[in-house]
């Protein structure tokens, strides 16, 4: 991300706590935050309020990346997914704490706080959300080797 500290800092409520916005006209929830509702458009100006999402949802689709971008070397292979949150919005992030061969479309997941990337050895560390399987603590079936 280079020297992007202010750009990251500005988004902390969204990155740390999944704070989105809700259109008070149609009640749709958006994440990341929007200043204008794409459905109500002009009518929604000034009528968007912040709403903290619960961070729970299901996997819509996923893939396992074997060829990562340069600052994610060492993490590969890792899984990324599009998660449909219960409130409606969809987000893209990594799936963690899960054996790669157990990830399934439809799997229930929950947001967890993780290091996303850092600006080399001397730069800032950027935190954010990744998703772990919800069944993790109910049943403990999710065991095995990870790499």
């Amino acid at each position: 991300m280079g020297n992007a500290v202010p750009r990251f800092w500005r988004e902390i409520p969204q990155r740390y706590s999944l704070v989105g916005t809700k259109c008070k006209v149609c009640n749709r929830v958006f994440f990341p935050q929007r200043e204008v509702c794409p459905y109500c458009r002009r009518k929604s100006i000034g009528k968007m309020e912040e709403i903290k999402l619960k961070g729970e949802g299901k996997v819509l689709t996923y893939t396992i990346i074997y060829t990562p971008p340069s600052n994610f070397e060492g993490q590969a292979p890792y899984a990324v997914a599009i998660v449909e949150l219960d409130e409606g919005p969809r987000v893209t992030s990594q799936i963690v704490d899960c054996d790669l061969d157990r990830i399934k479309i439809g799997m229930r997941v929950k947001a967890t706080f993780r290091r996303i990337q850092e600006d080399g050895d001397t730069g800032a560390i950027y935190y954010g959300y990744k998703f772990r399987p919800v069944e993790d603590f109910e049943g403990n079936e999710n065991k095995g080797k990870t790499g």
């Binding site: 991300m1 750009r7 988004e11 990341p32 819509l60 689709t61 996923y62 893939t63 396992i64 990346i65 074997y66 060829t67 990562p68 971008p69 340069s70 994610f72 993490q75 890792y78 990324v80 997914a81 599009i82 969809r90 987000v91 893209t92 992030s93 990594q94 479309i105 996303i116 990337q117 950027y126 954010g128 990744k130």
Partner: protein
């Protein structure tokens, strides 16, 4: 709005062209187009060029001026405009040029597309390409371009039963076509097994599901239709020029397996041309990844949603099929210098419609379509050409 013809076509070879610089490439393509059209540089009224990321690939911005200068046109002080829309930069540059000529603002306009991707190390090229995705909400988390398309592929397989082999067949077919294209990057036959067993990039896509990193450039000369006969008797005209946009991030789409940008750009082009998908004889579509070609033939209306895999498997999109797709070899075998692709696709269609496509000629091609996508489907241009 007046009708617009394409009177000249120029292409460089696509590939890892160590000896050619960014400036060499665009000048070569432009020169070939000018010679093909039989015009002199002084007749050119304006220049449009598509380039995704000259800034990051070769450290150079201000590309419009640069290209006019390298082409020897700076002494004429013509308007030179660089257009950017990730991998749809070329198609979008063409549409801007088309609008300029159709509106009467300019007469003879040259359109170029160029990308020099091999001056940076491979990993860096991947990072630069990822700038076509949503930096804050996709790339930030370690998502790569292949990963986005892999997620589309997985969902498509889940919803429609598309198989791994059907995806692979797209690459196999395009490589077969590429064998007959002298300017293609790859002249190599591959099998479905080769594709499936190639190094894994983002499950389920392997290296052979992905278009390569390439250098290259392409150029077209546009002119008002009523003057085209002064330059050529094999006149090809643009009958439809559509463009559309969609959410930047893949997760913002209504349906992950449909590129509404394609659907809308195509509808715009079909309506303008007054034709239906079944009227298309040949198409060059944006196969940045094998799944992208399957989505394209569905979203362009050639087959129903979900049936793209079957169509490829049945050979319908081969050169001798009922809907020949990517006779040039597509992005997969021909190469994908991103800014150049949109222009190169149209160049291929022009050659096909003129009957100048050599061994890969599609018989009786009279109406052709070129489809160019930016990023994971956030932008799209569709151009339809017809023999005049």
């Amino acid at each position: 709005m007046r009708e617009v013809a394409i009177i000249g076509v120029g292409l460089t070879k696509f590939g890892e062209l160590w000896d050619k610089s960014f400036r060499n490439l665009i000048t070569e393509a432009g020169s070939k187009a000018i010679l093909d059209a039989g015009i002199s540089g002084s007749e050119i009224d304006a220049l449009y060029v598509g380039s995704m990321s000259a800034g990051r690939f070769v450290g150079q911005e201000h590309v419009g001026a640069l290209v006019a200068d390298s082409s020897g046109l700076s002494s004429m002080h013509i308007p030179a405009t660089r257009v950017e829309s990730a991998c749809a930069s070329g198609g979008m540059a063409l549409r801007q040029a088309y609008i300029a000529v159709a509106s009467g603002m300019h007469d003879i306009v040259v359109v170029g597309g160029v990308e020099k991707m091999t001056d940076v190390v491979g990993g860096e090229a991947t990072n630069i390409l990822a700038m076509a995705a949503d930096q804050e909400w996709e790339a930030f988390f370690g998502v790569t371009f292949p990963a986005l398309y892999a997620m589309i592929a997985r969902r498509h397989m889940h919803e429609y039963g598309t198989t791994r082999e059907q995806l692979a067949q797209v690459a196999v077919k395009n490589h077969e076509n590429g064998l007959l294209n002298p300017e293609a990057q790859f002249h190599r036959k591959i099998t479905i097994e080769d594709v499936i067993n190639a190094p894994m990039v983002a499950d389920p896509l392997t290296l052979l599901d992905c278009s390569p990193i390439s250098d290259g450039a392409a150029a077209l000369i546009l002119c008002p239709l009523d003057r085209a006969k002064d330059y050529t008797d094999k006149i090809v005209k643009i009958i439809g020029a559509g463009q559309a946009s969609d959410s930047l991030a893949l997760h913002g789409r209504e349906d992950i397996c449909t590129f509404r940008a394609t659907v809308n750009a195509a509808r715009m082009a079909y309506e303008q041309a007054g034709i239906k998908p079944t009227d298309i004889d040949v198409a060059e579509v944006h196969d940045c990844f094998t799944i992208a070609e399957i989505l394209a033939i569905e979203d362009l209306g050639f087959v129903k949603k979900g049936e793209g895999g079957k169509a490829v498997e049945e050979g319908r999109t081969a050169r001798d099929g009922d809907i020949p797709i990517n006779p040039s070899g597509g992005l997969k075998a021909k190469g994908h210098p991103v800014g150049a692709t949109g222009v190169a696709q149209v160049a291929e269609i022009v050659l096909q419609l003129r009957g100048e496509a050599g061994e890969r000629q599609i018989k009786d091609a009279r109406i052709g379509l070129a489809h160019n996508i930016g990023g994971s489907g956030a932008s799209c241009t569709v151009h339809i050409m017809e023999v005049a």
